[in-house]
Symmetry: C2
Subunit: 419 residues, 2 copies
């Protein structure tokens, strides 16, 4: 039964994608406005549905942070709807022709950006993702199949219903946006194998979800969002300006993927600098896990002993790994071994050291004298963020609208044959 359900879901999405593929930029702006209006009209229903989710979450004993993540109130819902206006204002990446050339046989060839077709997105907790992803998909002419977390199923249903009503009012198939609301996990693995209809899967969630998608999907998957981020403090860094950057990378928002996980410190400055850094971090509530040298240099700070597993941990909390390294080579080797390919930074005033780090560290984002916290579609000026990719094909780092497009080759001849 679930197979039939998924087949129909896929067929309807593919069918809807044909209707979306050739909309003009103006059409899509109007479509998104219709969705914003529909969400506005349905605000009371959406908030009521969200209240049900909140009640259920409390009854299930979810912690306060989790409940806050899934909560919608008037102000948050208004912000979600207002964000649609920002997406409406973005440039439309579809329909651009590039790499145009005249071949020797007279054929005129070019590439044209087109939608991917059907995108599947699997996500957790926050209900605003339902709106964000639907809007970004439609802006780029794609149909989308959404699978949210079970904690927000009522909110997601109400949001999807309003989005679909807006699409229908505009005169397009409502199935351009479909939500899988059945909590059966077999539907997730089934979705991952729907390669006849779905062109790309974006998992937005933790490492277990990413791994499930990598292992089960027969559809291309954009892995991402797991950041084991490093900052290498070189001996030639301006130490008087370094502490604020390290604190920013670790403390400003410790629960996100671009927060700092491991600090690598050049041994020549460790003895002098680590005690003053530890004092500042400690005042910010950061607890430390360090190598033996770090522990010896910081006897007052109860530094736990770091293991191989420590360095493979994305903390997502106010914990920081620290390792004293002999030189740049050891720092780069450590990053190559333990990084998830998300974001790495170096602090140094030495141009040779800086250049080698930027060249030899190969992560999605590499920073010189800046916090890792900037790896974000908004911060990078992309106007939107679908996800942060940590794999190397198609899109790397923060994914803007461009990542939801592909191209086709168009060739115009004059009854031309190949000789």
């Amino acid at each position: 039964m679930s197979e039939t359900y998924l087949q129909q879901l896929g067929q309807r999405a593919k069918e809807a994608s044909f209707a979306l593929a050739n909309l003009t930029a103006a059409d899509k702006r109007e479509l998104l406005q219709a969705i914003a209006d529909s969400l506005q009209s349905a605000s009371n229903d959406i908030l009521a549905a969200n209240a049900k989710d909140v009640t259920a979450a409390k009854a299930a004993g979810l912690d306060a942070a989790m409940i806050d993540r899934l909560l919608l109130d008037n102000k948050r819902l208004a912000a979600v709807i207002a964000d649609i206006g920002n997406v409406i204002a973005l440039a439309d990446p579809i329909g651009r022709e590039f790499d145009s050339r005249l071949l020797d046989n007279g054929i005129r060839l070019c590439r044209r950006t087109v939608p991917l077709g059907v995108i599947g997105v699997i996500y957790e907790a926050r209900p605003n993702v339902t709106v964000d992803i639907a809007v970004l998909a439609l802006k780029t002419g794609n149909a989308v199949i959404l699978r949210g977390g079970k904690e927000t199923v009522n909110s997601n249903l109400a949001l999807a219903q309003a989005i679909r009503a807006g699409i229908a009012k505009f005169g397009l198939p409502a199935d351009a946006v479909q939500l899988i609301d059945d909590p059966d996990r077999a539907l997730v693995t089934g979705l991952l194998k729907l390669d006849q209809y779905v062109d790309m899967i974006v998992p937005r969630g933790g490492s277990k979800l990413q791994r499930l998608c990598a292992e089960q999907a027969t559809i291309p998957v954009i892995l991402g969002g797991i950041g084991i981020c490093h900052l290498y403090l070189d001996k030639a860094a301006d130490l008087s300006r370094s502490t604020s950057v390290i604190v920013n990378a670790k403390v400003q928002r410790p629960t996100v993927c671009n927060a700092l996980d491991t600090l690598l410190v050049h041994e020549a400055i460790a003895e002098h600098y680590l005690p003053q850094l530890a004092a500042t971090l400690s005042a910010e509530g950061v607890s430390l896990v360090g190598c033996e040298t770090t522990r010896q240099l910081l006897p007052a700070y109860d530094v736990r002993s770091a293991s191989d597993a420590t360095y493979r941990t994305e903390w997502l909390s106010l914990t920081l790994g620290i390792k004293v390294v002999a030189d740049l080579d050891e720092a780069i080797a450590h990053i190559r071994q333990y990084s998830s390919g998300h974001s790495e930074a170096i602090l140094t005033n030495d141009i040779t050291t800086a250049t080698r780090f930027m060249n030899e560290v190969n992560s999605a984002a590499v920073y010189l004298n800046a916090s890792t916290r900037f790896t974000d579609g908004g911060q990078f000026g992309l106007g939107a963020e679908v996800a942060v990719s940590t794999q190397k094909l198609h899109a790397r780092g923060p994914m803007g609208l461009e990542a939801l497009t592909t191209y086709k080759w168009l060739a115009v001849g004059d009854y031309t044959s190949r000789s």
Copy 2:
């Protein structure tokens, strides 16, 4: 044991990829020249190894076409080596910086093209692929793991040995190119799951290999090379010029992926045109499989009856499917249902019909008034062809050097924190 072998293979490839990543364009030209020289020196050994494969193939009763595919002689080997010169002459896509921007916080941000890292390529029969792929991978700074067909294992070993000797002579790790020569199929599935080390898998082979990769790989796979190609002959086509294009698409090289599989004919011209087309195709040795209307219009040509399975067949031979359609809508609907997303063409002089076809048919290559046979890296002016992708992420259609690259984001601040 095979797991340890694969882990070591992956580790060595990854290690070599670090040495390759920051070579200059001049370095890589010299590296490829060293490989060409090494292959030249080893010519006798390579031809002797190939003779063993040919003898074994004859003993195993392989057909003449297959034996011809795996045969190397002096002339063919010289051509393979000469092709390295063409790759040396191509522009190097690595190290280009683009999308540079100055953010409001003073960070200067850009993207830089970098190698993917380690590429795994699984291929069949023709030994020249061993050289082609190794050279294209190295040109773009990638390490490569090769897995050829068992019919050419001696040839591939001799070629890989010469390539590795050339790399070592240039002063880089020979493990930049590694060949899996053990015929154990578990090594293929193992390679597909080596995601810790391998960044991309390119299967160059038939639909069974493609499917295996889609289902088993935990590494991103570039599917491709399966072409169920359509040509729609519109009622407004110049019929006097159409026959040569149709014949070219079907007959010029029927065994390749961009050859024509199904001809769709507008019903208004079918009665007049199909008999004359059938006469020409028949003279070229083409046998026909058609819809009921086609069969009625061509009683003299022994047209077999087409089924759903017919239209899902990539013929790779002198067989052509023919279907008479009511209009453009039916042609587009047929293509959407049966195409593998490779190449489709329309012949028409009507600009409205042509525009709709180009907009609404979404395959890797869409042709107006030209043969489908042009879908090829060389024909498209890419200078090289890694494979022809029929999926939508990363690369679509003929893949040139660009498809072996990714980018990283580089950000330079002044001890900049996120506010």
